[in-house]
């Protein structure tokens, strides 16, 4: 079945360093991959997405990389700040007319001062 998972449950990063959060997916038919940020007590918030026909997309301080050969997705955060501390989820948007979002387990990012 469809599944999205993450390699690391917790990532601790020094403030100012770059963060890399990884994700593995299994459904090669998904057309979009999305990263969400969830702060404590809040709902997930959209960060960035990437279409399946791309391998890289950049936003403000964030870059998403997609490697379809090994079904791997990563989120890079440049110059990590304390406000980046949160749980990050990758999600895939299933195709075939259902348009479901399937989420991975999540990675907790801790930014150390």
């Amino acid at each position: 079945g469809e599944s999205v998972g993450l390699h690391l449950p917790t990532l601790s990063v020094q403030e100012g360093d770059n963060s890399i959060i990884n994700c593995a997916y299994s459904n090669s038919a998904s057309d979009y991959f999305i990263w969400y940020k969830q702060e404590s007590g809040k709902g997930p918030q959209f960060i960035i997405d990437i279409r399946s026909n791309m391998d890289k997309r950049q936003g403000q301080r964030v870059t998403v990389l997609l490697n379809k050969t090994v079904k791997h997705l990563s989120l890079q955060i440049a110059a990590t700040q304390p406000g980046d501390s949160a749980v990050y989820f990758c999600a895939e948007r299933a195709t075939s007319g259902t348009y479901k979002y399937i989420f991975g387990t999540g990675t907790r990012l801790k930014v150390l001062a």
Partner: protein, 113 residues
């Protein structure tokens, strides 16, 4: 423009009781979703809807029911609450025709005792 509004924010239910979690969006989105998030875990899709009058099961639909009589509202019904349904419930909506971003509500924290 309030986005996605969920009520109530917190609820304690006794085993066997029933309740309805309310979700409303004012963005005229066709797609709406219900997810549950267990402690330290990712989001699991319960039910989703691609438009008024159309609903479908997600990954974990057992014990829940939904309806979608209007574009704005997507209530989630628990008929016979069980301790396994203790979780945080998130409602989301999106307009997948134009973008992949799903907007989430603040969540409903449900405890079944």
């Amino acid at each position: 423009n309030a986005g996605v509004t969920q009520t109530p924010k917190f609820r304690i239910l006794k085993i066997g009781q029933s309740m309805t979690l309310q979700c409303a969006q004012d963005m005229n989105h066709n797609y709406m979703y219900w997810y549950r998030q267990d402690p330290g875990m990712g989001l699991k899709l319960i039910y989703y809807s691609v438009g008024a009058g159309i609903t479908d099961k997600g990954e974990v639909p057992n014990g829940y029911n939904v309806s979608r009589s209007t574009t704005e509202d997507f209530p989630l019904r628990l008929e016979l609450a069980a301790p396994s349904q203790t979780s945080v419930y998130f409602c989301a909506s999106s307009d997948l025709m134009y973008n992949t971003e799903a907007f989430f509500g603040q969540g409903t924290r449900l405890t079944v005792v």
